[in-house]
């Protein structure tokens, strides 16, 4: 099974990927959250500097990057959110 999802890139991840948003047409599902992150890293290797500093969210819900399985549906939103520190 695969799903078509929209990936949103925020802050530093938008700068590193050069994108604010992209459609991924055939993401395998279910997929581990680590698998999902690895898939994004394959597309945008520069994201690897964010490895341990990023919040990954699926359908506006925090997902810890690890073994947890995520079921994706068509039209789901995946967000990559590194922290901002300026003020």
């Amino acid at each position: 099974m695969t799903a078509q999802v929209t990936v949103l890139y925020f802050a530093k991840s938008a700068e590193l990927s050069g994108l604010k948003e992209e459609e991924l047409v055939a993401v395998p599902t279910p997929i581990s959250s680590q698998g999902l992150w690895s898939l994004l890293l394959q597309r945008h290797p520069r994201l690897c500097v964010l490895q341990h500093q990023v919040v990954l969210a699926v359908r506006q819900q925090y997902v810890a990057i690890g073994d947890e399985l995520v079921a994706l549906g068509d039209g789901d939103e995946v967000a990559v959110v590194p922290p901002l520190s300026g003020g």
Binding site: K12, H52, Q53, V55, A79, G86
Partner: protein, 459 residues
């Protein structure tokens, strides 16, 4: 006759009104002068904030428009008046935050900032004025707050928050607002809030984005639950490097004020387990539902390894400031000074001057002979830029008529990126481009402006 009597009476009444108004104005001025603000250079114990038994007539009039809200009401207003809030950082977030908290009648405001007001702060740090340049930000903010609401007790702290003073300071306040501009301070404030059990209303902003979360609040996560490992310092962009549109921290600071007021008045915040993101470009707010606090968290978990404050600059590998750090990547013979470059220019020695700043900065100011290729284009070998570089170098080589290595001087704003660019170009030399001698100009264009050409703009 009766007309004249009536006229005189009316005039007299008017004059009496004027006298009352003048007396009020005088009393108000005397009252605010009596409490001349004292700048605190260190943390000292404060007297506990007293709860008001009831609102005065003046309170009722001043706060009438918010007293009408069933969500606040008289009890909410009384709650505000007995709450103290520590504002860490009186910059782009801290200014609007402090302004709205004071306007709403918060009891006590601790205003902390180690820095002084600069001209480049004024586009976003809206409590400070032109006449406050070089003044301590904490004092400038406190004076502005006093003008707005003299009944709010303001305590300006002109000091750097540190592992030595943070607990003593934070313990004296009910709510902490993180309006800081750097990573070490964010971890320090978080840990101090966890250790002293205070809710932390935290916001941040950069460029056209903002984020907000209330940490350590009603079973929600702390900053370390979310970000257990600090980011490598070279991946952190601050406002002085990346820029920020003033209204973005303005919006986030106002949002912070809202959550502080909800907690202080007793309504409670709804951001305790939420990360709210603001995208100014799309004018959109999004929020991500977070997990509760983590049992394995190093500071708020079940077996914490952090039980007292640590060295946060060492932990994060960066300084607790948003000022640009100075890199030292090159040896002395790989660098020249701005004075050296001035004489190279004056003697018309053939060379290539390469400006590696982003285009948006080159548009602000640049030296007339420079070729602009941003550092990122060099790092990622952007083909049209590499081609441009190859052409410029081979032209220079032809012009020099010999098999020498043409000199390339690299410049940027402060002399950090230029060093990185020299390292990249040394790898390219002899393979991707003709062999070159490449050096950077130490201190960059800002050193040029300071030492060589005082008419050159600084930013």
């Amino acid at each position: 006759m009766t007309d004249e009597v009536g006229y005189l009476k009316a005039q007299l009444e008017e004059k009496e009104k004027d006298i009352v108004a003048l007396k009020n104005k005088l009393a108000h001025l005397e009252k605010s002068n009596a409490s001349v603000l004292e700048l605190y250079e260190k943390v000292t114990p404060l007297t506990p904030l007293k709860a008001k038994a009831s609102l005065s007539n003046e309170d009722i009039m001043r706060y009438s428009r918010q007293l009408l809200l069933p969500e606040l009401g008289v009890q909410g207003q009384l709650n505000l008046s007995k709450t103290s809030v520590l504002v860490v950082g009186c910059g782009g977030l801290g200014c609007p935050l402090a302004q709205y908290l004071a306007a709403a009648g918060i009891g006590r405001l601790g205003l902390l900032d180690y820095d002084e007001v600069e001209l480049s702060n004024l586009h976003r740090q809206v409590l400070h004025g032109e006449e406050n340049q070089d003044q301590a930000k904490a004092l400038s903010a406190a004076n502005a707050i006093k003008r707005l609401n003299s009944t709010v007790e303001c305590i300006p702290y002109h000091l750097q928050l540190s592992s030595e003073n943070a607990l003593q300071l934070i313990q004296q306040y009910d709510i902490v607002a993180d309006c800081s501009d750097n990573v070490p301070t964010r971890y320090l404030v978080n840990d101090a809030c966890v250790l002293s059990g205070k809710p932390l209303v935290s916001a941040s902003a950069l460029r056209m984005e903002g984020q907000l979360t209330v940490y350590n609040y009603h079973g929600g996560p702390c900053y370390r639950c979310l970000y257990p490992v600090p980011p490598p310092s070279e991946t952190v962009t601050n406002c002085s490097d990346g820029g920020v549109l003033g209204v973005v921290p303005g919006i986030m600071g106002c949002f912070q004020a809202l959550e502080v007021l909800k907690i202080a008045s007793g309504q409670g915040s709804s951001c305790g387990q939420q990360l709210v993101m603001f995208d100014a470009q799309d004018a959109r707010f999004r929020s991500i539902k977070l997990r509760p606090k983590q049992a394995g968290c190093a500071v708020c978990g079940e077996n914490p390894s952090v039980t007292r404050l640590v060295d946060y600059e060492a932990f994060c590998g960066s300084a607790a400031t948003d000022k640009c750090r100075k890199l030292n990547l090159l040896s002395r013979d790989q660098r020249i000074t701005v004075q050296d470059y001035k004489s190279i220019m004056d003697t018309a020695e053939p060379h290539l001057l390469l400006d590696v700043r982003p285009l948006v900065e080159v548009d602000i100011c640049h030296l007339p002979t420079s070729l602009n290729i941003p550092l990122s284009s060099l790092e990622y070998r952007k083909s049209e830029h590499i081609q441009l570089l190859q052409e410029s170098i081979s032209q220079l080589k032809q012009q020099m008529e010999g098999d020498c290595r043409p000199p390339v001087y690299v410049i940027c704003k402060m002399g950090n990126d230029s060093q990185k660019a020299v390292q990249v170009m040394e790898k390219m030399s002899g393979s991707e481009v003709d062999s070159i001698t490449v050096k950077d100009i130490s201190g960059g264009l800002m050193a040029w402006a300071k030492r060589i050409d005082p008419t050159f703009p600084q930013y």
